[in-house]
Amino acid sequence: MTAATGIGARVLRTEDKRFLTGNGRYVDDLPLARATYAYFLRSPHAHAKIKSIDISAAAKMPGVVNIFTGKDLVDAKVGGLICGWVVKDKHGQPHKAPAHPVMAVDTVRYVGDTVAMVVANTYDEAKDAAESIKVDYEVKPANVDPGRALDKGAVEVHPEAPGNLVYDWEIGVKADVDAAFAKAAHVTKLDLINNRLIPNAMEPRAAAADYDKGTGQYTLWSTSQNPHVLRLILSAFVLGIPEHKLRVIAPDVGGGFGSKIFCYADETMVCWAASRVGRPIKWTAERSESFQTDCHGRDHVTHAELAMDKDGKFLALKVDTIANMGAYLSTFSTAVPTYLYATLLAGQYTTPLIYANVKAVFTHTAPVDAYRGAGRPEATFVIESIVSKAAAEMKMDPAELRRKNFIPSTAFPYQTPVALQYDSGNYPPIIDEAIKIADYKGFEARRAEAKSRGKLRGIGFSSYIEACGLAPSQVIGQLGGGVGQWEAAQIKFNPTGNVQIMTGSHSHGQSHETTFAQIVSDKLGVPMEQIEIVHGDTATTPFGMGTYGSRSLAVGGSAIMKAADKIIAKGKKIAAHLMEASVADVVFENGTFKVAGTDKNVPLAQVVFAAYVPHNYPLAEVEPGMDENAFYDPANFVYPAGTQICEVEIDPDTGEVEIVNFTAVDDFGNIINPMVVEGQVHGGIVQGIGQALLEAAVYDKATGQLISGSYMDYTMPRADDVPSFKLGYKVTPCPHNPLGVKGCGEAGAIASPAAVMNAVHNALAPIGVKHVEMPATPLNVWQSIQGAQRQAAE
């Protein structure tokens, strides 16, 4: 094996050459002859009845090809958009599932809800015509605050969901938890809001579609993280196009963070209308449309209580959460605040009893669904915030309190009280390493030095666990998920010895073209430049579930390993024939088949050639060709874990928070490419810092307008908002997948909000500030300081 490109090597990214030289090919780049362009007219109101839509003037505008409204879809019997995960409430009843029309029919339910589609010869003509569509709205009051959505008298979003309740769900036994609380020596209580976020992938969502009248074949190009799943949803539930007559291609995609998992109205309409228009249709979201209509993330209101004995041993945890679903249930929305959230509430700790109650609610806001971490950042924020608060209340060192409650390394596999069984882990060495890297011992001296400069310095810990690598299909099925969660791979050698790997995973920033090739290079001894990773096209790749939930390496990579095993097994038979040896005596090492104990050998390339030119070949026992498929369904989730330590300095005069030190030590199991992992960790931490300090999706409570609807008001993290990160690793290989890998895509974003906010609280505690909500903007911090000073004066 070539050590420079195998597993563990810092191989430069193969895909960067085309991205950095402007040769990436995104949906919007697609040249389509005779293309038309779509513009979607969207609701300017958060809640209104549509009394009428008059398209007559618009239809006569220059260049207009066609205009569609919700009524056209009703007439054509197009299905609604679906939520693919049925969550049963605490009485065993399925969640409320009001219809989600692709385009609004009689009611709009959030600013940005789709009202009409204009197709014209140019985009500007479509936009001009849309201005001439006369929609008569009867504007109604809106409810945008999840904390008030369940209030008596709150405006209802759907009559099918009385009181705006989607489900009232629970996990754990409340009576047992209450009994433990009754015996507790100390109870820490915490109210918090997990702020709503807007994903902001660099490439906005886009779609293009073409319909072949001759064959009845639709081709849809979409910025999708999972083209096969999108095809399945459109075929089976929404448009009724047979799966084999719909090809979905997700070419180069510029980031997703979850927001491109889902099936939206836009690509549905572009695909559906392509056959009606008779010409290809292209659509690319403008940035303001992305703000309004990409699924948002987080948006929880939570009350949590932690019971401890006198020594700080955790006895029980109870959590009440209201989770905002927005106006409609997006593709996987219902699972996020339940199975991806409450099942994580044990964290890294032995807390024996946990009860969580989650009420999902409708509001007149954009749909909320999975966003980098999806439930697990929310869980980590609850646990790690309350643990740090408990340490402060009990006057214990926050690292010590964590250590005291860590699951010991001898306890794995560890069954938590909230359904998950952690497969592996060893947490104490992680926090020890983080403490060492962060120079925790020197903190008080740094705090004193900062004080001499008028700055308040604080330090915060966050020890996270996550369950990713989704997931054992049978478990997903038992929990109400509508799909399997395996992954597939095909390894196809060409006669000349180079190889194409077809994967059901999709890379939109994750570097699969590099890391998946490294796996194959390592396993089969093929040089990197002879390996091509093919992904993103339902016509050329095996059915796969796509990329989200830090699953591509653990599940998709494992499928590649299984396919590679089949290649080796078949190769052994051919090699045995060529070397006139028994198959049992053939071994495969560094790309060469050898007869053990002899100098007989035959390289893989020669075996491949023999397979395609089977002149001297065991045709009676082995088929020609070298092309193997594998499906991999994981035995369990994977459980990355780690500890982050954040150090901040706060300017009490302005409320500004500066992150001055940031350490992250992770256990991702085995690492394929450390450089790629560092990139993922850096990006994840920055997104978490964005949530903690900068980002907030703000709807006007009176009008339901999205106030933070552009970069003038929505604060994205910039390079100068973050420090240089100090990273470290500890490795406990995953015991149940062939690569021993966990997952690194979401970890940074899962852990860092708590690390930052614990540091902020630690910095502000000496001046009496009890609680600051995210994002800890200068205004927010200053107001918290003012509040504490007022309280002190009273």
């Binding site: 302005t654 907030a696 929505y714 604060t715 205004l779």
Partner: protein
């Protein structure tokens, strides 16, 4: 954006001629505000008169006690000008902290001042240094130029040709940026000049304004201690999700003190 007629004159006279009699025509200098406004279809001018080809409008010269900056001079040129850095370093510093490198290499002083965005930086310097705005027809004193939210003394079709900044004995600009847009949420320009002390505040209110109480205190004692107890009333200040009026009022004090300290360095 909607269609419009595009013109690129070579002289001020031609530009003025093109704007004359067209109430819906708009002059464009750097286009840093106009282009996004057009793209969002928030403006529908009949004509756009691009001043980018008017060479006579760009450039920096020192005339006696004044630094004269042509209306079409880019922020980056002011920021890096040896003359500006030597004569009024605070002005170069201010220009060097407007927007990002792309904005600084496109945006112009004349465009910024004529637009009078409440969160723009340059109005702070124009008022803080008691500059004179020269147009194709007249000279306008700083205190008479800025009239209110996006409002100036400029008449229809009147173009800023240059702005003349008197040198200051001491001056500094301190900005607290809006976390999202990085426009000035509060920017305070403090100058000690032969004509007295000036404290000009941008970002905090609907239009740049002076703080007389601070000016009087600093005239007696040009130190941050002299203004530490001066409170700015929040009434009438801007308020949004990034900063309440009270917070902006508080920041005016903080930024003013820091500006005085910086000017004294």
């Amino acid at each position: 954006m909607y269609d419009f007629a595009y013109h690129r004159p070579k002289s001020v006279a031609d530009a003025v001629g093109l704007l004359k009699g067209k109430p819906e025509a708009r002059a464009m200098s750097g286009g840093m505000t106009l282009i996004p406004t057009l793209k969002q279809r928030l403006a529908r001018p009949s004509d756009v008169v691009d001043l980018g080809g008017v060479k006579e409008l760009a450039g920096i010269k020192v005339e006696g006690n004044n630094v004269v900056v042509g209306g079409m001079t880019r922020h980056a040129d002011v920021a890096t000008s040896a003359e500006v850095k030597a004569a009024i370093p605070a002005l170069a510093h201010l220009a060097g902290h407007i927007g990002d490198p792309q904005v600084r290499n496109r945006g112009t002083i004349g465009g910024s001042v004529a637009n009078n965005d409440p969160a723009a930086d340059y109005p702070g310097a124009v008022v803080g240094l008691n500059a004179t705005v020269t147009t194709n027809t007249r000279k306008i004193a700083a205190d008479d130029f800025f009239k209110g939210l996006f409002e100036t003394a400029l008449a229809d079709g009147e173009l800023i040709t240059s702005i003349s900044f008197p040198k200051a004995e001491k001056a500094a600009y301190m900005k607290f940026p809006n976390p999202a847009s990085r426009y000035a949420m509060v920017g305070v320009f403090v100058a000690k000049t032969a004509g007295g002390v000036r404290v000009a505040v941008t970002g905090a209110g609907p239009c740049v304004f002076r703080v007389k109480a601070m000016e009087d205190a600093l005239a007696k004692n040009f130190s941050s201690a002299a203004i530490k107890d001066i409170k700015i009333p929040a009434d009438g200040l801007n308020s949004d999700i990034h900063g309440s009026a009270e917070y902006r009022a508080h920041l005016v004090g903080v930024m003013a003190r820091r500006a005085v300290d910086a000017a004294n360095k």
